[in-house]
C-alpha cells in the first residue's frame, strides 16, 4: 500500500518538498532571498560604484572651491556663481548660460520633432504594413545595424556629402541652382540637427514599434467597420495606444540631445555652445567644481523634463 504522502508526491511533487530526495541538501538551504541577492548583487554593485556614488560626488564637488590647477575641498558656491555670472547684471539681455540653454532646448525640440515624425512612420510601416514575420525581422534588423556601428564614423560620413566640394554642393552647382558652394551645409546647426536625427531616430523607432506591435489588429478593423476614416483611426486608435512608446522614445531622444557634446562638437565645427559642451570646456580647463555645477543644472533640467513626460505614462508598466 502506498502511503498517502507517496501518492501526493507522485501526483503533485511540489506540495511535498521535504520528501524530494533528488534535491541536494545544500541547495535547499539557500533561501530564495539570498539567491536573489547573489544574482542581482553584482549588477547593483556596479551601478553603486560607477553611477550612484559618482553622481553624489558630482553634487558634492559642485559646492567645492577651486583654483587654476586643483580642487579645494572647502564649501563654496563659486561653481554656481561663475556659471550664472552676469545673469542679473545684464538684464534684460540674456547671459551666456541662459543663451546656451535656450540654444540647446531649440536643438532638442527640432531633433525631437523630426525623429518623432520619422520614427512614428517607420514603426507604423513595420508594425502594420509588413505582414510577414520574416520581413518584419529583416527590416527591423536593417534599422538596428547602424546602431551597432560607431557614432563618430556616422558623423564623419556626412563630410564627403555636405562639405564645400561635397556631393550636394557639386550637384546643386551642376543643375545651376546655385553659383557658389553653400556654406551652411556643414559645421552648422543644420548639420548638427541632421547628424543627431541620423544617429538617434533609432531610439524612437524601437519603443514606438514595440507599442504598436502589441495593438490588437481587430481594434483597427473594428474602427474601420464602424465607419472611421484612416485618419480617424490613426488619431483615435493608433496614436493613443502607441503613446507609451512615443513617450519612452521621446525621453531617450531628449535626454541624449540635452547632454550631447560630441555630435554638437564634431558637426558644429566646435563652434556651437550647448549644455553638454560647457561641462566639457570646464573640465578641459580643470575647473571641476564649475563643471560639476553645470552637470547638476543639466541633471535638474533633464529630470524635470522626464518627470513631466513620465506623468503621461508609467514607464515600469511598459517594459
Amino acid at each position: 500500500m502506498d502511503t498517502s504522502e507517496d501518492i501526493l508526491q507522485r501526483t503533485s511533487p511540489d506540495l511535498v518538498r521535504g520528501s524530494d530526495k533528488a534535491r541536494p541538501a545544500k541547495a535547499a538551504r539557500l533561501s530564495p532571498s539570498f539567491v536573489s541577492w547573489l544574482q542581482a548583487g553584482p549588477m547593483m554593485l556596479v551601478f553603486l560604484a560607477f553611477f550612484l556614488i559618482p553622481l553624489v560626488f558630482v553634487v558634492i564637488v559642485s559646492f567645492w572651491d577651486y583654483n587654476e590647477y586643483q580642487l579645494l575641498p572647502a564649501f563654496s558656491g563659486r561653481g554656481y556663481t561663475d556659471t550664472f555670472e552676469g545673469c542679473i547684471a545684464q538684464l534684460p539681455d540674456l547671459c551666456t548660460i541662459a543663451k546656451t540653454y535656450l540654444k540647446t532646448l531649440k536643438l532638442c525640440f527640432l531633433v525631437w520633432a523630426i525623429t518623432l515624425f520619422i520614427g512614428f512612420w517607420v514603426a507604423y510601416f513595420l508594425a502594420f504594413h509588413v505582414k510577414s514575420k520574416t520581413w518584419q525581422m529583416g527590416l527591423s534588423l536593417l534599422c538596428t545595424i547602424p546602431f551597432w556601428t560607431s557614432n563618430v564614423i556616422r558623423m564623419i560620413a556626412w563630410i564627403p556629402l555636405l562639405g564645400r566640394n561635397g556631393l550636394v554642393n557639386s550637384g546643386l552647382m551642376k543643375t545651376g541652382l546655385i553659383n557658389q558652394p553653400v556654406e551652411w551645409l556643414l559645421f552648422s546647426e543644420f548639420s548638427v540637427v541632421l547628424a543627431l536625427v541620423h544617429l538617434f531616430t533609432f531610439f524612437m523607432v524601437v519603443p514606438i514599434f514595440n507599442s504598436m506591435i502589441r495593438i490588437d489588429k481587430s481594434l483597427i478593423e473594428a474602427a474601420y467597420d464602424a465607419g472611421a476614416t484612416g485618419f480617424q483611426t490613426l488619431v483615435n486608435v493608433v496614436i493613443p495606444l502607441a503613446k507609451p512608446g512615443i513617450v519612452i522614445g521621446s525621453i531617450f531622444v531628449i535626454t541624449i540631445v540635452m547632454g550631447d557634446f560630441i555630435t554638437i562638437g564634431v558637426m558644429g565645427g566646435q563652434q556651437i555652445a550647448a549644455a553638454g559642451k560647457i561641462i566639457e570646456t570646464r573640465v578641459n580647463a580643470l575647473q571641476f567644481p564649475a563643471a560639476a555645477a553645470n552637470a547638476v543644472i543639466l541633471l535638474v533640467i533633464t529630470f524635470l523634463i522626464i518627470t513631466m513626460m513620465s506623468r503621461i505614462v508609467d514607464i515600469k508598466k511598459e517594459l
Binding site: 580642487l71 536593417l142 560620413a157 564627403p160 484612416g230 566646435q270 573640465v283 541633471l299
Partner: protein, 292 residues
C-alpha cells in the same frame, strides 16, 4: 475583409526606403572613399582606386599609435561583453522573483541609461580623482592614479551596456514559459541543472544578443569614455581627435577598419543566433503540437 495593398502602403514603403538610404548612404560613401587613390581628397569624385590609405594606416601614420588603441579597445570590448552577459543573465534571473531592492536596481538601470553620459563620465572621473588624493595623502605619496582602462574605463562602459542587457533579459523572460522549469524540477533537477540544461539553452540566442550589444556599444563608446578613461585613448577617442584636423582620407580608412570589426562581430553574432534558432526549431520540443 480581403483587399489589395492600400495606397498608404506604397507611400510608407517609399518613406521607409528613403529612411534606410538616409541611414546607410553616408556610411557607404566613406567606405568607398577610403579606397581613394594616393592623390585622392576628402570628397567625390574618386581619384583612382587603391588600398593606399588603408595600408598607410597599418604602417602607422605617425599621428597616433593606432595599433595600441586598437588592441586596447578590443580588450575592453571583450571584457565589457563578458561582464555584461554574466551580470545581466544573473540579474535577469533574480527579477523573476520578488526581492528587496528590486525597484532600486530597476530605477538605477533606467537612470544610468538616460542620465546624460557626460555627467556619469564626469562623476566617475571625480570619484577616481578623490580616491587618488586620499591614497596620496594617507598611504603613498608617489601614487600616480587609479584611473585606467580596466578600472574607471570599464566601469564607465558598464553603466552604458548593463541597462541594455537587463532590458533584453526582461524581454526574454516576458515570453518564457515557467512550466518548463517546473517540469525540470519535478524530474528532480537541481536549480543549477535546471538553469544549465533547460533555461540557458532556451534563452541562449537572446544572450548572444546581449553580448552583441555589450561588445559593439563598448567598441564605439565615446561620451562616457571621454572623461573616465584615464591617460590612454580608445580607438573612437583617437578617431574623434582626428576629426578636428581632417585633411586626407586616412580618417575614412580608419573609419572603415573600425566598422569592419563591428560588421564582423554583428555577422558572427547574428549568424550564431540564426543557427541556434534553427537548431531549436529542428530539435526542440514538440509538446503541444499534438500527435502526428
Amino acid at each position: 475583409m480581403k483587399e489589395g495593398r492600400p495606397r498608404s502602403f506604397y507611400v510608407l514603403a517609399i518613406f521607409f526606403a528613403a529612411y534606410v538610404l538616409f541611414l546607410y548612404g553616408p556610411m557607404i560613401a566613406i567606405y568607398v572613399l577610403s579606397f581613394q587613390g594616393p592623390q585622392g581628397g576628402l570628397t567625390f569624385p574618386m581619384n583612382g582606386v587603391s588600398t593606399y590609405w588603408l595600408t598607410k594606416l597599418f604602417q602607422g601614420t605617425g599621428i597616433v599609435d593606432l595599433g595600441a588603441a586598437f588592441r586596447r579597445s578590443l580588450l575592453l570590448g571583450v571584457i565589457v561583453m563578458t561582464v555584461t552577459v554574466v551580470l545581466s543573465v544573473a540579474a535577469g534571473m533574480a527579477f523573476r522573483r520578488k526581492f528587496k531592492a528590486q525597484s532600486i536596481l530597476f530605477y538605477s538601470a533606467i537612470a544610468s541609461l538616460i542620465v546624460p553620459s557626460i555627467i556619469t563620465s564626469l562623476g566617475i572621473s571625480l570619484e577616481f580623482r578623490i580616491i587618488d588624493d586620499l591614497i596620496k595623502a594617507h598611504w603613498n605619496e608617489n601614487f600616480e592614479t587609479s584611473m585606467g582602462l580596466l578600472t574607471s574605463g570599464l566601469g564607465a562602459h558598464l553603466t552604458w551596456t548593463l541597462p541594455f542587457g537587463l532590458l533584453i533579459m526582461f524581454a526574454i523572460f516576458n515570453r518564457f514559459d515557467p512550466r518548463l522549469e517546473e517540469a525540470a524540477r519535478d524530474l528532480g533537477a537541481t536549480p543549477w541543472q535546471t538553469f544549465r540544461h533547460v533555461v540557458l539553452p532556451i534563452i541562449l540566442p537572446s544572450v548572444i544578443g546581449i553580448g552583441l550589444f555589450g561588445f559593439t556599444l563598448s567598441w564605439d563608446e565615446l561620451a562616457r569614455s571621454s572623461q573616465a578613461i584615464g591617460a590612454v585613448n580608445t580607438l573612437p577617442l583617437d578617431l574623434q581627435g582626428l576629426t578636428t584636423t581632417v585633411t586626407n582620407p586616412d580618417i575614412y580608412a580608419l573609419g572603415t577598419i573600425i566598422s569592419a570589426v563591428s560588421f564582423a562581430v554583428i555577422t558572427l553574432a547574428l549568424g550564431t543566433i540564426h543557427m541556434l534558432n534553427k537548431r531549436q526549431a529542428a530539435k526542440g520540443s514538440d509538446a503541444g503540437k499534438g500527435l502526428v
